[in-house]
């Protein structure tokens, strides 16, 4: 692979042949190395451990968790909200950038969209893991049955189920749509059974003028359709909390605040993944500091928005000083001071102070630190929304506390490993770079002479 590290040769991607570009961008699909196997094994082992913990919980009972009365929701729901949040980057960022014709989006698209699909898949597992009787989860599915059961569409949990199903299907189709031309390229470059699999997935795509013309319109339409779905999904997750009577949850700012939080963690996660992919597959010349600069600006905006929403939420509660609500907030601040401080540091102070500077946005090390810390902070944020609030509900006699047990921690960690494993497999089997998209941009870049300078002129997308 080392002969492809083009930077050392100093030739720009624009000067390379299409075949060479294909080779480089699809290098991740080369036969796996021992490192890949080792990583897959480690991740698989963690997932297996999580499965063991889950089976243990199902086989015995829920007393092996840290849950109690009044804290009946714990790390599982925290993880659920976190993963749903993470899933908001990909599809949404990619769709927004597509609609706003931001050309720099192209190398990021695939990684972001795949992240959405895998994180929403992981997220979708948590409500089921969380159930007291997991084996009856199908009671939530509306199908005629002899049990006399029908789900209650007035419950926010059912809205969740419907919204997440919509989002899983929608974002998977969106990923597939974006990948269609690349699957055809993968088909043409492979042989044997893999070729047959790609041939089926590519649906006989040839790239005829008619196909491309429809394809471009379909991409725009899908991008326009997926954005409102993404907004609705995290709003509905926020409804789970906001529609209740629980002091601290019953807040009208929750839906937009959750959507902002989701995009915050999502954009940060895309940046983290970009760094990992760039390093792992040596795609340094496709994911350039320019991309990190742009993503950094986006992250800065979202970070400011998040800080604003958090400020509004806390400030208004503090001023009204409604006794129970204020008890929730002061309990959170007293009991969880260190992680609360870490959350504010990593979600507000650090991003705003670093991302304002171009030099820091272009530094991979800084971006890695900031983006990872933002997701740590977003995990804490969800924990602080769920656990302290339930610990201090209306009846002071029933106040309590919660700490996750080994079962819950194992499953939460296994979710990260499971996500990593899915991603690892995806990157090996499917094009992780949007090959056709990137190459399209290269094709369109031409230089025109204007006065004494040569300037790049590129033909914009038609929408």
């Amino acid at each position: 692979m080392s002969e492809f590290s083009g930077q050392t040769h100093g030739d720009t991607p624009a000067a390379k042949s299409a075949a060479r570009l294909n080779d480089e961008m699809l290098s991740s699909m080369a036969p796996p190395t021992w490192r890949w196997y080792a990583l897959a094994f480690v991740l698989g082992a963690v997932v297996a451990w999580g499965l063991y913990a889950f089976s243990y919980m199902v086989a015995t009972d829920m007393s092996c968790t840290g849950l109690n009365r009044p804290v009946m929701w714990g790390l599982f729901i925290v993880s659920f909200v976190f993963w749903v949040g993470l899933s908001h980057s990909g599809t949404m960022v990619s769709a927004i950038l597509r609609l706003s014709r931001a050309e720099w989006r192209r190398p990021i698209l695939r990684a972001a969209e795949a992240m959405t699909v895998f994180s929403i898949t992981v997220a979708g597992l948590f409500p089921i893991i969380h159930l007291g009787r997991n084996w009856t989860f199908y009671y939530l599915i509306p199908y005629p049955n002899q049990r006399g059961l029908w789900p209650n569409f007035r419950s926010a949990l059912l809205w969740d189920a419907v919204a997440i199903t919509t989002y899983i299907i929608g974002s998977t189709l969106f990923l597939y749509l974006g990948m269609l031309p690349d699957l055809a390229i993968a088909r043409d470059r492979s042989s044997g059974w893999r070729r047959r699999v790609y041939a089926v997935l590519a649906m006989g795509w040839r790239g005829s003028a008619h196909e491309w013309s429809v394809y471009r319109k379909a991409s725009t339409l899908m991008a326009a359709l997926i954005i409102p779905v993404a907004v609705s999904v995290h709003s509905i997750v926020a409804f789970d909390f906001a529609v209740t009577l629980v002091p601290g949850w019953h807040s009208t700012i929750f839906p937009p605040y959750f959507v902002i939080g989701a995009i915050n963690s999502g954009v940060a996660a895309v940046i983290t993944l970009m760094i990992v992919i760039r390093k792992a597959f040596r795609l340094e010349e496709y994911l350039t500091p320019q991309h990190f600069d742009n993503m950094g600006k986006l992250l800065l905006v979202i970070s400011l928005l998040w800080s604003y929403a958090y400020f509004v939420e806390v400030n208004i509660t503090w001023y009204a000083h409604e006794p129970i609500e204020w008890e929730v907030f002061s309990f959170m601040a007293n009991r969880y001071t260190p992680i609360l401080a870490l959350m504010i540091l990593a979600n507000t102070v650090l991003p705003i102070s670093t991302l304002c500077f171009k030099r820091l946005r272009r530094s991979i090390g800084v971006m890695l630190t900031v983006s990872v810390l933002i997701n740590v902070a977003m995990f804490i944020e969800r924990y602080l929304i769920i656990v302290p609030t339930l610990s201090r509900k209306n009846m002071p006699f029933m106040w309590g506390s919660y700490f996750p047990s080994w079962v819950e921690i194992s499953i939460a960690v296994a979710a990260f490993a499971g996500f990593g494993l899915l991603y690892l497999l995806f990157a090996k089997w499917f094009p992780i770079m949007a090959v056709a998209d990137v190459r399209e941009l290269k094709e369109r870049e031409a230089e025109v002479r204007l006065g004494r300078a040569k300037l790049p002129a590129d033909v914009k997308d038609e929408l």
């Binding site: 042949s17 299409a18 919204a163 299907i169 043409d188 003028a209 779905v229």
Partner: protein, 169 residues
């Protein structure tokens, strides 16, 4: 009956298309096969209108009806009182209707897209894997075998690397 010429770059392919048109082949019977999209008219011009969005809209309407019937309809048929909420509650019904409408619209968009593209195709169609590596294909569909020969000649003259009339995706 079709024939496919493979060209090294866009310029030669575009020249071949022009030659073909000049030689009497109608433009709507010529298509380009590329691995990256080119703006309309770079190689051939295509009808800018498309109908697959209507499938998406139809999906959305069907989805909205499904969502409404599922949430409002089933509660109405089998009313269960919960917490002084109306049996047909407006907000939940709206949410479910919306989600189903979006789901079906998205599925409709994909299905419509594939229908309009005519994918997956019924029979085999001409293709060459070199297109993925940046070559440009120009495909002409013709009525008779001697027209194939004529088209192949025009394309070869214009600089085709090869012409094929067999070999499919």
């Amino acid at each position: 009956m079709e024939t496919l010429g493979i060209f090294n770059d866009v310029d030669t392919a575009a020249r071949a298309v022009e030659e073909l048109i000049r030689a009497g082949f109608a433009e709507d019977r010529i298509t380009s096969l590329t691995s990256v999209p080119y703006p309309d008219g770079v190689l051939v011009k295509r009808e800018p209108r498309s109908w697959f969005r209507w499938v998406s809209l139809a999906g959305g309407i069907v989805g909205a009806a499904t969502g409404f019937l599922l949430s409002a309809g089933t509660s109405w048929v089998y009313p269960v009182q919960t917490g002084d909420k109306p049996i047909i509650s407006p907000y939940p019904t709206g949410i479910i209707t919306y989600e189903f409408a979006m789901l079906f619209a998205i599925i409709g968009a994909m299905v419509g897209m594939f229908l309009e593209m005519g994918l997956p195709p019924r029979g085999g169609r001409l293709y060459d894997p070199s297109i993925s590596d940046g070559c440009i294909g120009v495909e002409v569909s013709v009525a008779s075998r001697d027209e194939i020969g004529r088209a192949e000649e025009v394309m070869k003259r214009a600089g085709a690397l090869k012409t094929i009339s067999e070999g499919t995706v």
